[in-house]
């Protein structure tokens, strides 16, 4: 091996700490980008593949009860490849001997063996239940502490209970797809319906089209035709859902989220590149004398350039050795986590070639680009300058009359003098820390960049979390009371109110109504489902966020406030405009009085006054559904009151369908969003790790370059603590500056992240909410990180004996 390459090998091996820092700096960026790129590829392929493998229905019609004949007529419709009927109803279940009831959506299959739509994947036990046996969707196990072959207790509408054993756990990739708020599912055969007090009839039709299964417009068109046909023959279609065969309903959301993560991954690469640039700059500065000697012995610029370029490539290759396998594992781990959350399967562990190439490209190019400037500068340096061994601003500087103080240093000295003139003397060791902070301005800038970005993202993620929670809370104010009380038949408002108010803690009762229909275009074609809630117009439970117009009035007739989801179909929609609706088979024209903000996943939401809708439904002064306000609004209290009201009304002979605490459904939504926030937080922590690595590197380099000064300090009386304090204070000052900058930068970051996430999840931008939490945690974290990042260099500094220091010079 030629001596020059041996030198490079020594450079690599001798200073292991520095090599480790550079290699880790590169590896963090490569790892992040590998994880995101790999997960992106795996998820975008497997999510839809897994979804389509289970033969998802293109059209799901939620109807009133229907029989085999109606199902056959759907099947015979032109363009329909297959149709199956299900009966879906919700029921309360619990493990016998326990108190907690959980609401399950029970799905009754006509024939599990010939089932060809929305297939179930066996997970454990049987995949076909016999009569009076139940299968559970695997997600249900998170809500119910039950295991295979154990009994579940079912509560029937009349209050009586029945038990059935859980004979199998299955996965239903179609269950809850597209609905964050879906209840867990259970599956039985039609033969078990009577046992649970249900008629042996269908109420849901699942349809697969013979062609155009990925053409959403064709699917909608077919859905409208089917609905039309069914309604003409006297059936009632309450709601319809449309899905493409090869696209998971949440694909857009997941891809948008992965897009954000990808952006953060790229940012981490940028941050790590600044870290690399910093370290390589310092390395070249330390090697100036070597370069001087090489040149003195006849080494040419390009030879020096090649040597250090080889060193950078060696760093890069070492980083790739670490980052590629970890990145592959991380990508699959992340994909597995998302698949678990979204309830789909992966096609197995694999290395994603594209992610691999991206990692190699990033791992080689980024250090090369980051190191190019220092290497070019280093190789260009003259022998004289190289042998003098310093590129620093004024360190070691011998004064000349012509030399002038940089303005920033001049300012610092002036400031200290001004303070001193007013009797304020800053301790000199702290002055050293303060002024040292600003000595290597380009290094400081790069360190601050990484640390600030990490901090800003960290803070922004907390703000985004609160923003999302706040929005869920706002959404809750559209239809969530402390307790929702639903019956299987309508009851008089006054009767329910009197009874409910007799329960301690109930303060107010409202009867609500509900009507669903279709939103039509100008040609009477079906655009989307529309669900019209009808609370009392003066209800205090609904706190809408109006975008334009007004809220509903008691005297409104065929007037509604509509969610801004309608703007997707009518971009110019204004209050006062008419909209065509099809309600219970009738085409009607309603007037829009206001437009409000709301998440639209299950169609367009609208509000009309109870006063009008109850008359329209021939249910004046009566209702199926009641909303109750209690004296306290916390989840445990709501749960307790729901339980009490449930028992009370059942004991009084009411046909109770379900009683639910308002906070319960919100908590489910919040949990789903928190999963997303966790991803963002992981990325934020990664950026913070890169930032603190940058700070550690900077402090290490600073200490190394100031070894002589540390020696002087020791010579004039600085003990270990004094030396360590000076170094740590410098780290903490950098941390504090970065905190200040992060606070500023977190504002645009919060708005940007909130907007992107809310557009991905809710299809609408939402109002940003700020929380002190992120700021406080980051402040603590950055102080701790900067102190920790400085401790090792500080200890090294304190360990130096003065002789070593002078020898260093």
């Amino acid at each position: 091996m030629k001596p020059r390459w041996r030198k490079i090998l020594h450079d690599l091996v001798d200073n292991r700490g520095r090599t480790l820092l550079v290699v880790l700096s590169i590896a963090v960026g490569v790892f992040s980008i590998g994880v995101i790129a790999g997960a992106y590829q795996i998820i975008s392929r497997d999510m839809s593949a897994s979804y389509s493998a289970n033969k998802p229905a293109n059209i799901e019609l939620r109807m009133t009860d229907f029989d085999e004949d109606v199902l056959a007529s759907i099947h015979n419709q032109r363009g329909v490849a297959d149709a199956e009927g299900r009966r879906v109803f919700n029921v309360r279940v619990r493990v016998p001997g326990t108190e907690k009831w959980t609401t399950l959506d029970m799905v009754a299959f006509e024939d599990f063996e010939t089932n060809a739509i929305n297939l179930l994947t066996p997970v454990q036990g049987q995949s076909i239940p016999d009569r009076r046996e139940v299968l559970l969707e695997q997600d249900a196990l998170q809500h119910l502490d039950v295991s295979l072959n154990k009994l579940l207790e079912f509560q029937l509408p009349d209050g009586s209970t029945k038990t059935m054993p859980v004979v199998g756990i299955v996965q239903d990739t179609a269950a809850g797809a597209g609905d964050f708020l879906a209840s867990p599912y259970g599956y039985i055969s039609m033969d078990s319906l009577q046992y649970l007090g249900q008629p042996k009839l269908f109420n849901r039709a699942l349809v697969i089209l013979s062609e155009d299964g990925d053409d959403i417009f064709r699917i909608r068109e077919m859905g409208a035709e089917l609905k039309d046909t069914l309604e003409k023959s006297g059936n009632v279609v309450i709601r319809s859902r449309f899905s493409q065969t090869h696209e998971h309903p949440l694909a857009d959301t997941v891809n948008a989220i992965l897009g954000i993560l990808m952006a953060l991954g790229i940012l981490i690469v940028f941050l790590s590149s600044s870290l690399i640039a910093n370290t390589l700059n310092a390395l070249l500065n330390q090697h100036l004398r070597h370069i001087g000697v090489i040149k003195l012995l006849g080494g040419q610029r390009r030879q020096v350039f090649r040597m250090y370029l080889t060193l950078i490539m060696a760093f890069a290759l070492l980083a790739l050795l670490i980052a590629i396998p970890l990145g592959g594992q991380g990508a699959y781990g992340l994909a597995l986590f998302i698949a678990g959350e979204m309830n789909f399967n992966l096609l197995g562990y694999r290395i994603v070639p594209m992610a691999l190439w991206i990692q190699i490209l990033v791992g080689l190019l980024v250090p090369l680009i980051a190191g190019l400037v220092p290497v070019i500068n280093g190789s260009r340096i003259t022998v004289l300058r190289a042998l003098s061994g310093n590129l620093a601003e004024y360190e070691n500087g011998q004064a000349t009359a012509a030399e002038r103080l940089p303005w920033f240093d001049w300012m610092q000295v002036k400031l200290t003098r001004l303070l001193a003139a007013r009797g304020i003397h800053i301790p000199r060791p702290f002055v050293i820390s303060l002024r040292n902070t600003f000595r290597r301005k380009s290094r400081l800038a790069l360190t601050l960049f990484t640390l600030t970005m990490g901090g800003a993202i960290f803070i922004a993620v907390f703000n985004v979390r609160v923003t999302l929670h706040d929005y869920i809370g706002q959404i809750g104010k559209y239809f969530v009371a402390d307790v929702s009380l639903d019956f299987d038949r309508p009851y008089r408002l006054r009767e329910v109110e009197q009874m409910a108010m007799s329960v301690d803690g109930v303060e107010r009762v409202e009867g609500w109504q509900f009507v669903s229909g279709d939103l039509l275009d100008a040609n009477r074609g079906v655009l989307e489902n529309i669900n019209v809630f009808a609370p009392p117009a003066e209800s205090e439970l609904v706190e809408p966020i109006l975008v334009s117009g007004r809220w509903i009035h008691p005297s409104d007739v065929r007037k509604l406030a509509i969610s801004e989801g309608a703007l997707e179909y009518f971009p110019d929609l204004q209050p006062g405009d008419p909209v065509n609706l099809k309600i219970e088979g009738r085409d009607e024209v309603w007037e829009v009085v206001g437009i409000f903000k709301f998440v639209d996943r299950e169609g367009v939401l609208a509000y009309a006054p109870y006063e009008y809708v109850s008359q329209m439904n021939n249910l004046a002064n009566r209702s199926y559904s009641f909303r109750l306000v209690t004296s306290r609004h916390d989840r445990p209290y709501q749960d307790a009151k729901a339980e009490e009201l449930d028992k009370y009304f059942r004991d009084q002979g009411f046909s109770v369908r379900v009683v639910e605490a308002g906070q319960a459904s919100l908590d489910t939504a919040v949990e789903s969003l928190d999963t997303l926030v966790v991803f963002l937080l992981i990325m934020a922590i990664l950026t913070a790790v890169v930032g603190s690595m940058g700070l550690t590197g900077t402090m290490g380099m600073n200490v190394l370059e100031r070894t002589r000064e540390i020696g002087i300090m020791r010579a004039i009386g600085a003990d270990d603590r004094a030396v360590m304090r000076t170094v740590i204070a410098e780290g903490v000052i950098i941390g504090m500056i970065s905190f200040g900058l992060a606070v500023l930068l977190s504002l645009p970051f919060t708005y940007l992240l909130s907007t992107i996430v809310s557009l991905a999840v809710f299809q609408t931008p939402i109002d940003v909410v700020f929380t002190y939490m992120g700021y406080a945690i980051w402040l603590g974290l950055v102080l701790a990180l900067s102190a920790i990042a400085s401790v090792l260099p500080a200890r090294n500094a304190a360990r130096l004996t003065i002789r070593e220091v002078l020898a260093y010079e």
């Binding site: 004064a399 103080l405 009797g423 003397h425 004039i716 009386g717 270990d720 010079e809």
Partner: protein, 282 residues
């Protein structure tokens, strides 16, 4: 090989005479490297009294800086003991504690001044008081300014080292060394990097300090400076080979040579203890 103090048992060595500022006993320093061992100091015995102005001379590599490092606590002896102002600075004392002790008891002046470049001259002088925790916090600026006045730099107090001449930097370094009022001032080639005018001023200052009772020990290879000190020690190959004491007739006769008597001789004749032996001023 001449030695400056006779071999004595350790008990005697541990009790130097109270007037001794520096007492080295059997100091050996061996450096180990991949190339092998190298002994820079070969059993040095040396006593320097309070108020002496001593120059240590020798060729490059003779061990003079290593000897100075032993006195200042900058390096560790491989063997032997070093007692400064009554304190054994290498026994039962950590590096960190030694730094603190040094700040309070010793002023060091380096060849390259070693002022901290980010601090003004005033702040550099105050820094040693901060580290040594000497004087009240509010008293330190005024004292630092007094030190700078002593060396004639009060008008440069708020300048950074970069903006003053090398001579002024060295004067500031002396002011810093004096800030905690240490009884001992140690200088390593203090004029090696200065022009003759600046060098003269520095030596004048050292003489003045010695007259005020400070002990000044200076390493130099400039023969013209040795004539200004009251005692001249010569070191070669890690061994003290000469020790000359000069008697100055007074401040007006500054720089005039007096008759020097090899100190070695007097000590051998008298066989004094490890503490300061009676001085021969013939």
């Amino acid at each position: 090989m001449p030695r400056l103090a006779p071999n004595l048992d350790p008990d005697q060595a541990a009790a130097p005479a109270p007037e001794a500022m520096i007492a080295l006993r059997g100091v050996v320093k061996t450096f180990k490297s991949a190339a092998g061992e190298f002994t820079a100091l070969k059993g040095i015995d040396l006593v320097i009294d309070r108020g002496e102005f001593v120059s240590i001379v020798g060729k490059s590599g003779s061990g003079k800086s290593t000897l100075l490092n032993m006195v200042t606590g900058i390096d560790h002896p491989t063997q032997g003991r070093v007692v400064i102002g009554g304190t054994d600075i290498y026994t039962g004392i950590t590096e960190s504690q030694r730094s603190k002790w040094r700040g309070r008891n010793l002023g060091i002046v380096f060849q390259f001044f070693q002022l901290l470049p980010m601090l003004t001259l005033l702040e550099n002088v105050m820094l040693s008081m901060d580290f040594a925790e000497m004087y009240d916090f509010d008293e330190r600026p005024a004292r630092a300014l007094d030190m700078l006045k002593l060396v004639g730099l009060e008008s440069f107090a708020n300048k950074l080292p970069l903006l003053v001449s090398t001579g002024q930097q060295q004067l500031a370094a002396i002011a810093r060394a004096l800030a905690c009022d240490p009884p001992l001032l140690v200088a390593d080639e203090p004029t090696g990097n200065l022009d003759s005018t600046s060098a003269g001023a520095i030596i004048d200052l050292f003489e003045e300090l010695a007259r005020r009772g400070k002990t000044v020990v200076m390493v130099t290879h400039d023969p013209s400076l040795t004539s200004r000190t009251t005692r001249n020690i010569v070191i070669a190959d890690g061994v003290l080979i000469g020790d000359t004491i000069r008697k100055h007739s007074g401040p007006s006769q500054k720089g005039k040579r007096t008759v020097a008597v090899p100190r070695l001789m007097s000590r051998l004749v008298r066989g004094g203890g490890f503490g300061r032996p009676p001085r021969s001023d013939e």
